[in-house]
């Protein structure tokens, strides 16, 4: 069973639909007991960092996430919340991955970074097996995570930023795999396989 974390900022329907298309049993929950029983956790998110963190804190989900050893996949804002902090509303994050989210410079290109883009500089990781720089994923975000030691693939728009990150059992993708056609479905499948076999 896969659990999708239910909180205010989640794009829950899209992620749930994507798992249904892959025939993966899943539940949408904010209950620790159900999260404890899941093999893997999907942590989606859209919107603003600060209210999203407040919503997690209101349910105690921030503590649960920080302390879990289960495979976690953060998507978009879910990935961003894994970091220490964000310039967006000067919000604190979960502090699982070091770094601070920054805003794209809108004087250089259109912001948000919206649409289909590729990634490069991939490192060896089960999540990225079989992917190349020809695969497109759907991005929509105005803040980005600077590349650091935990970046396992980077994307270029205005600057190089973290597209895929991994630290221990935590993984994150800046794009929306649930909205990224066949490539996105394949990436989700690889996370699920990792979660269900680890």
């Amino acid at each position: 069973m896969i659990a999708i974390i239910n909180y205010e900022a989640g794009n829950l329907a899209s992620v749930s639909n994507a798992l249904s298309r892959l025939d993966v049993p899943h539940t949408i929950t904010n209950k620790e007991k159900e999260l404890d029983e899941a093999s893997g956790i999907i942590f989606p998110g859209v919107g603003h960092a600060r209210p999203a963190m407040e919503s997690l804190q209101a349910n105690g989900l921030d503590h649960w996430l920080k302390n879990t050893s289960k495979p976690v996949l953060g998507i978009c804002l879910g990935m961003q919340l894994l970091y220490d902090s964000s310039e967006e509303g000067d919000a604190s994050g979960l502090g699982i991955i070091p770094g601070r989210l920054r805003k794209f410079d809108a004087s250089l290109e259109k912001v948000p970074h919206m649409g289909w883009n590729t990634f490069s500089d991939m490192r060896d990781h089960p999540l990225l097996e079989g992917f190349s720089t020809d695969h497109y994923f759907y991005y929509v975000h105005s803040y980005y995570a600077p590349v650091n030691d935990f970046t396992i693939a980077s994307c270029r728009y205005i600057t190089n930023f973290a597209s895929v990150v991994a630290k221990d059992n935590f993984m994150g993708v800046q794009f929306h795999p649930e909205k990224s056609g066949k490539a996105g479905a394949q990436l989700l499948r690889q996370f699920l396989q990792y979660a269900l076999t680890s």
Partner: protein, 253 residues
């Protein structure tokens, strides 16, 4: 590299896809869920659904349709047509839409953009603007193009951006359904002013029109309806030709 997007638009009336010319004279173009799936498989980068149904039951029907569509397709989609409150936006997003397109409602109540962006994030708030050339400027029309607001389109678009819209869906009423090409002057002017993505709409008839909207009008995405519904232009061919013109597009395998 970030690619330019090709976006088929489905006008929905009473659960069917329809298409008119200059906002009038509708003809049937098929089942929206089937069309959506076809486009998704053929390489469309996004989809836009605009509900032009005017009945009281509309909202529930639309939410049901959004649910059906979101179960079937794995690319982003936008839903618009008569959405007028934060509650309605929440219903549509929770049903599985990725963005909502707001048009008449935000002209009547511009603060709706602020409230919606605060609650759901700018990334899912599309400001749709129907602009018509009148006396050397572009004027905003609402209510499906039937009502002249007298507002200057460029000023309104700037305000929509400032209030928190994440994207502009810019329709030239003069060109809509005519297949005579996008209004490149309008597109260029708007793109000089805003720093959020702009979707060009109204007038697509040929591959060259789409190319020009991107190359000359600096559009981030092109939206079209009838050329796709009636298979006048295949999305794959359009993408091949755009790539030949040095425009980055997403290739699907």
């Amino acid at each position: 590299m970030l690619t330019k997007r090709i976006i088929p638009c489905l006008d929905i009336k009473d659960g069917r896809t329809v298409k008119g010319v200059n906002f009038e004279g509708l003809r049937d173009a098929g089942d929206p869920v089937e069309l959506a799936q076809r486009y998704s498989e053929e390489g469309a980068d996004e989809l836009v659904f605009l509900d032009i149904t005017a009945t009281k039951e509309k909202r529930k029907t639309l939410v049901d349709l959004v649910k059906k569509i979101s179960r079937r397709i794995d690319i982003p989609f936008t839903v618009g047509g008569g959405i007028g409150s934060v509650e309605e936006i929440a219903d549509i997003l929770h049903a599985g839409a990725d963005k909502v397109s707001l048009n008449s409602a935000i002209v009547r109540d511009p603060d709706l953009i602020n409230r919606a962006a605060r609650q759901f994030g700018s990334q899912c708030i599309v400001a749709a603007v129907d602009a018509k050339r009148t006396d050397g400027q572009w004027t905003v029309f609402i209510s499906g193009g039937s009502k002249n607001t007298g507002r200057d389109a460029l000023q309104w678009i700037t305000e929509a951006e400032r209030r928190g819209a994440g994207e502009i869906l810019l329709t030239s009423m003069d060109r809509d359904g005519t297949k005579s090409g996008f209004d490149l002057d309008l597109l260029s002017e708007v793109n000089q002013q805003v720093s959020i993505p702009v979707i060009a709409s109204g007038g697509a008839g040929t591959i060259a029109h789409c190319r020009d909207a991107i190359k000359l009008g600096h559009a981030d995405a092109v939206l079209a309806a009838s050329i796709f519904h009636f298979r006048e232009i295949e999305i794959s061919l359009l993408k091949e030709e755009l790539q030949r013109a040095q425009i980055p597009v997403r290739q699907t395998f």
